[in-house]
């Protein structure tokens, strides 16, 4: 019994500590925003965002395609075949595109951030920054944070179009839903707020991926193994946070 209490207590304590560190890093990052180096932000936007687009687009196209493939028979049985486009668009705008893009970003961008900053940490490069009177949060975290916050909505916006295009392709090729019906149902079933809500979510997810990646990287220790652990932990933690935050954002944005 005592062991169970101690174990539970340790888990709660670790969770609180991790949350505290994350919140602290967010505040420190926001405080350093005024010293943001635009050149570094643009470099990170190209490095982290643009390079991620092809894999996100590929994934979302196939998601849109499979959604139509799965939904159309059921909708046909219910006599609601004409709503296929709207259903697919709603799911993609509100949930699938932001969440799946964020998961890919966590795996690709978050891992890259954690590995890069982690290797800087274990080779004393972050200490070297401090010795040269340069704030590591301002120099390393701020450009990545801003780049992720700006680029994730952009990636998601294009991913939305790709998802719809994938769905449209399958709907018009393999089902009886015509092109006009597909597009018309999107107009009927979706509003601008569905699209913008997904982009707001994407901003939050981008921030999560950047902050968690930086936090895990800066906490790396014990050489190459430590960098590997930081990278893995960054991906897992980001994905968990993305799904948890997604629920609360959905209840707030799409009441």
């Amino acid at each position: 019994m005592i062991r169970l209490c101690s174990w539970t207590g340790r888990i709660i304590f670790d969770l609180l500590e991790a949350t505290g560190r994350t919140v602290q890093l967010v505040f420190q990052t926001l405080l350093q925003l005024r010293r943001m180096n635009i050149r570094h932000v643009i470099y990170q936007m190209a490095h982290l965002g643009v390079d991620t687009m092809p894999i996100v687009f590929l994934m979302i196209i196939f998601t849109g395609m499979v959604m139509v493939w799965q939904a159309t028979p059921a909708l046909t049985r219910a006599g609601a075949q004409s709503t296929t486009g709207g259903l697919v668009a709603l799911a993609i705008f509100r949930e699938l595109s932001p969440v799946l893009s964020a998961v890919v970003l966590a795996g690709r961008v978050g891992a890259a951030i954690a590995a890069e900053i982690g290797s800087m940490k274990v080779t004393e490069q972050i200490d070297a920054l401090r010795v040269m009177a340069t704030n590591p949060i301002g120099y390393l975290v701020v450009p990545r944070f801003v780049a992720c916050i700006l680029m994730t909505p952009l990636v998601v916006a294009f991913a939305n179009l790709m998802g719809i295009a994938g769905g449209f392709l399958v709907a018009t090729t393999y089902t009886n839903v015509g092109p006009y019906t597909f597009i018309h149902s999107i107009e009927i079933f979706t509003e601008l707020s569905d699209f913008t809500g997904g982009l707001v979510k994407a901003m939050f997810f981008g921030g999560i991926v950047a902050i968690v990646g930086c936090l895990k990287g800066m906490g790396a220790k014990d050489g190459a193994g430590g960098v590997g652990n930081a990278t893995t932990s960054s991906v897992v933690t980001s994905i968990v946070w993305i799904f948890v935050v997604n629920y609360f954002l959905s209840t707030w944005l799409f009441r």
Partner: protein
């Protein structure tokens, strides 16, 4: 003369492990102070305390007449602009060229035009014997060359104080001698004060104005190289001549036992 760096009753612990116990040391302007001692004695920790990378658990650290142990990072950065540090494993930014490494501090803290920065890079690299290596990446350099780039980076902004963490560790005797000459010439030409942590006794005797020896979490002796050679302290004699003395046990870190 008022010391440039003064450590007063410094205590330092990591969790339950005591690293430094009531350490006192004064470093005068323009001198080369060499800190020696066995592995795990707390020499590098002392260096990191002097530049504010670590905070002591007790005591005061005075740098240029200012107590730094309670300063926030922003205030510490003002002090650090007058300091440079050469790391044991160089800590060069591996995503930047040698030239960008050397110019890093200048670009961060000054509005110097690029053509002038280029001149500073060339001057600093010429001083450490690496002329023409501006566009080389750090992973293309040997260990000794990396240390010299680290030194060029540390002195690029003309700091008053340069801290060296094991500058000759892992280098051949010729390269060690080159690094020693560089440390002495930064003092002679640029008037910089140097604090050098080393195990290398040849290097210590070659460059030091004064030597401080650490043992058992404390500084046990401070003096000139001649005073050290003639010291009657068996711990000092054992360390500087590398003689195994059964009366004086060699202490090891808990992790090494």
């Amino acid at each position: 003369m008022e010391p440039l760096i003064e450590l007063k009753n410094i205590d330092m612990s990591f969790k339950d492990h005591k690293i430094l116990n009531n350490v006192n040391l004064q470093i005068q302007p323009g001198e080369i102070m060499v800190i020696i001692g066995p592995s795990g004695a707390g020499k590098s920790t002392l260096l990191r305390l002097m530049i504010g990378l670590l905070r002591p658990t007790g005591g005061e650290i005075w740098v240029e007449g200012q107590e730094i142990s309670h300063l926030n990072e922003e205030a510490l950065n003002k002090i650090r602009r007058n300091m440079g540090m050469v790391f044991q494993y160089s800590a060069l930014f591996d995503s930047m060229t040698v030239g960008d490494n050397v110019a890093f501090g200048i670009r961060q803290h000054t509005d110097m035009p690029e053509d002038q920065i280029l001149r500073v890079i060339r001057r600093s690299l010429r001083m450490v014997g690496l002329m023409g290596k501006e566009s080389v990446m750090p992973n293309e350099l040997s260990g000794g060359m990396k240390k010299r780039v680290g030194l060029a980076r540390a002195i690029a902004l003309n700091p008053k104080i340069v801290l060296y963490d094991e500058p000759t560790a892992g280098l051949d005797p010729v390269m060690s001698s080159t690094i020693n000459r560089l440390i002495m010439s930064t003092r002679r030409i640029l008037g910089m004060t140097a604090v050098v942590v080393t195990h290398d006794m040849d290097s210590a005797f070659a460059i030091a104005d004064r030597i401080a020896m650490m043992y058992d979490e404390k500084i046990i002796e401070v003096g000139t190289p001649d005073e050290f050679r003639e010291s009657s302290n068996p711990l000092v004699q054992q360390f500087i001549y590398g003689v195994k003395n059964h009366c004086v046990p060699v202490r090891r870190r808990a992790s090494e036992q």
